[in-house]
Amino acid sequence: MNLASLAPLAVVLPILGAALTFLLIRHSRAQRAVSIALLSLTLLLECLLLASVWNGGTAAVNIGGWVPPWGIVLVVDQFSSLMLVVSSAVSLAVLVYATGQGMADGDQDAPVSIFHPTYLILVAGVSNAFLSGDLFNLYVGFEILLTASYVLMTLGGTGPRIRAGVTYVVVSVVSSVLFLIAIAMVYGATGTINMADLAIKLSELDQGTKTLLHVMLLVAFGIKAAVFPLSFWLPDSYPTAPAPVTAVFAGLLTKVGVYAMVRTETLLFPGDSLNTPLMVVALLTMVVGILGALAQSDIKRLLSFTLVSHIGYMVFGLAMSSVAGLAAAVFYVAHHITIQTSLFLVTGLIERRGGSSSVDRLAGLAKLSPLLALLFFVPAMNLAGIPPFSGFLGKLGLMQAGIGLGTPLAYALVIGGVLTSLLTLLAVARVWNRAFWRKAEDAEHPDPVLLAVPVPEGGATAVRLLPRTMVGSTLGLVVLGVALTLFAGPLFRVADQSAAAMLDRSAYIQAVLGDGTPVPAAALSGGGK
């Protein structure tokens, strides 16, 4: 039996888990056990999927036995399975963190019994979006994860969360409507919504229609990925959600948008027709995002802005449409999911220990909790791209690809990328200086918790402030981030191969539509070495 035929389980298992946890809604202990067990099983399965395509290759699974292009097809290749593994590992860590938080708080201020089923449905939606080889199924995957995210965003129904939730829901629904309109127009133009079939049929359309469909899809995905002119909803809505929810949103949801953009650019509309606008947008995303981050004093809001800013790097890699650029973008997505999520989890811990997430009220945390300082410092430096870490390697790959491309715009983006990296360093260094380095007495409005007499190690208060499960899961994610650095060699090799396969397209199309399907030549004019 082919290992890839297990791919539907990556979607089915979390949904099954959601059903089970919904049945166990009155037994919180059993609920936790079931959701963690099923998510671990999903992660294991996805690791098997990744192992099966580790050395290249693409496998397609026809759902319900319908032969493509009529039926829905799930496609496992290096990029999708890598995304699946990273996203599931991150969501498992966040689930453990949230469980720890729920146990520590006695499940009192939020209906946490709803949390587990919703969370698993979110994971199922993300997996579906990564695996989908059908444009409408991709839309359904988006809707599954978005609907789950609406519930998670407004968990508890407090004033600020409802306010932020309204913005989030309206923006998301509008982007979904745009996506649906784009699907309808694609179907009207080609008569198919199977992505491999579309790759062939879209190339037969005239240039005007093609550009229209291309732009519509990119705008719809751009809203979800928070690319610059469409990114204003993100820093407004993410920071108010509970810490684990913000963490998983920051890690996964925007990356699903980036993933969809990558597929659109490489599979559906190859060539460089929109590369120049994408590069300009990438530059603006990087610079405007990081300037927004510098103005913030709340760590969660600051991180939301860095999230927007660093989406620019991925769009930059994508816009180069060269193997080197795309490979760096693939690596950067994997790196950024891990790092951004761990930073948000650490911020949750900072909020618990220091009583606030505003740098005006935080001080002296390095002395109070050296472990917390370490947990913040490593991913923060990683985000800023300080040499030994994976953030540096990803950025270096992007810069090399940009210089290899050699156009003036590419050079502008390389300069913008370096500048953004330095400004990111400035932003996180300010958080570090204020929240961790300075003395508590120096803060303008220090939180009373910080001035309290330090409790001895292992004392009752220390345990209550930082539960072991929460610290453990955060530590796990930080270690995963460091592991991305240690295993960057093999990862970059996989990213390189997947980028080459995505730009070549023939493996994908022939895996879905059968061997011997003629693949139209990609209209690459430069950069496609």
Partner: protein
């Protein structure tokens, strides 16, 4: 491919009304706008299926060319279910907003307003460094805001209202102002901006 003009016109009207409504600040209208947009999109998908034909797969001897395309209808069905879920959720949110804030409008983000109104002044970088750093501080302006509060006392002089300090300057010989100054009714009211730089 022929399309139904009535459907197209209705679709256009729905889109126009929907876009108008989602630009409102009232949440109920936004919801209505989203519903109209979703339904307009359903009509668009229906239109992509081409002309209305026979029921597909009904009998074996129908000419396949006369079938209507079943796929757009399946897509619409899925899309209706999704917009139903979203509408239900939005109604819940709107009700909750009403319970919490007693209004149907989109609320401002307080933290965002605060950041927007924060001046480019940074408490650490731009802190006022005392000019006089000796251990015997002189009660002079700028040395310490608490030692010598800036005088805002005014005097009435020759029909004008002057700051007391400026009036004292004009009193000096050679200032070119020989008009007699009578200190009448010195306003001793203190300004409130003496600690302006210490925020």
């Amino acid at each position: 491919m022929t399309v139904n003009l009535t459907l197209l016109t209705v679709m256009g009207a729905l889109y126009a009304c929907g876009i108008y409504l989602i630009l409102e600040r009232s949440l109920t209208r936004v919801l209505l706008g989203l519903m109209l947009l979703a339904n307009a999109t359903n009509l668009l998908i229906l239109a992509t299926g081409g002309y209305a034909g026979m029921a597909p797969f009904f009998s074996k001897d129908t000419d396949p060319a006369s079938y209507s395309d079943p796929l757009p209808q399946a897509l619409i069905l899925t899309s209706i279910v999704i917009s139903f879920a979203v509408t239900a959720f939005m109604l819940g949110i709107i009700y909750r907003t009403w319970l919490l804030a007693r209004q149907d409008d989109i609320q401002d983000d307080i933290e965002d307003r605060r950041v927007a109104e924060t001046p480019s002044f940074d408490a650490e970088d731009d802190a006022v460094i005392p000019v006089e750093t000796s251990e015997f501080p002189l009660p002079m302006r700028g040395s310490d805001s608490s030692a010598a509060p800036e005088s805002t006392a005014t005097v009435e002089a020759g029909g004008r209202t002057l700051l007391a300090e400026h009036a004292a300057q004009e009193e000096k010989p050679g200032s070119g102002n020989s008009a007699p100054v009578t200190d009448t009714g010195v306003n001793t009211e203190k300004g409130t901006d003496t600690d302006g730089g210490a925020k």
